[in-house]
Symmetry: C2
Subunit: 152 residues, 2 copies
Amino acid sequence: MTDHYEDLEVGETYETGSYTVTKEEIIGFAEQFDPQPFHLDEEAAQESMFGELVASGLHTLCLSVRLFVTDIVDGEDGIANMGGLGMDDLRWHEPVRPDDTLRVRVEILEKTLSSRSDRGYVDFRRSVIDDADEEVMSIVSHNIVRRADAAD
Amino acid sequence: MTDHYEDLEVGETYETGSYTVTKEEIIGFAEQFDPQPFHLDEEAAQESMFGELVASGLHTLCLSVRLFVTDIVDGEDGIANMGGLGMDDLRWHEPVRPDDTLRVRVEILEKTLSSRSDRGYVDFRRSVIDDADEEVMSIVSHNIVRRADAAD
């Protein structure tokens, strides 16, 4: 069963499984998309404001989207997500370090009907939580979700 | 020479070089971070609201950060970026398709001194532009930039 726009309730919360990020992945991601010294090199990172190698915030965002897609959109219940409009309020609260284990808490913030009869807009607040139960990142995503009566 | 907080002026603009994204990269990125059918599979994408295979919006964001880092932060002038606080107003205006060539226009929106004497906060508006000169994505990033008198 997939949840459509009508099935989602404001205030509803979800939690994903967890993912442990390695030093190799942190460096590999940075080489591809965010090649700054504090994401690439342990020695250079010691001289940065972080004092140690930390994951690109963009990497944390990407890992949180993967967990959201695999465990919630494609999860047991599933969400009929048609695509994304944008995101707001992205904040990195704490750095993510090698071997940190992350999971994502999701809350449905708001629902708005579209003028198109097949869809509605759903805002999700997503928090990335580490093993110490600390929030390391938060964001609000604006998604387009299919309506049940438009579904095949 | 690297530009420090004092060297940056509100209203100043930059433009990066360009990058052409392939179908293989679009699918590879989606497999890693955003495994939804319209980013993974041409046939499934035909039945989506996009009607064809499109890049994950997160991929467009990642490519824009890479161009910002390589061509501006690490560019000829360079910016003494210490890290990021967050991002706002991320909007995907147009889908990105295989073989689209993207570049990034950057404008300095706002500067705010920090209470810490070694740094200031700089807001950058970043627009991703395609070959047809159309804006496909926009975002505001909040960065921490080192002050010159704090530099070694």
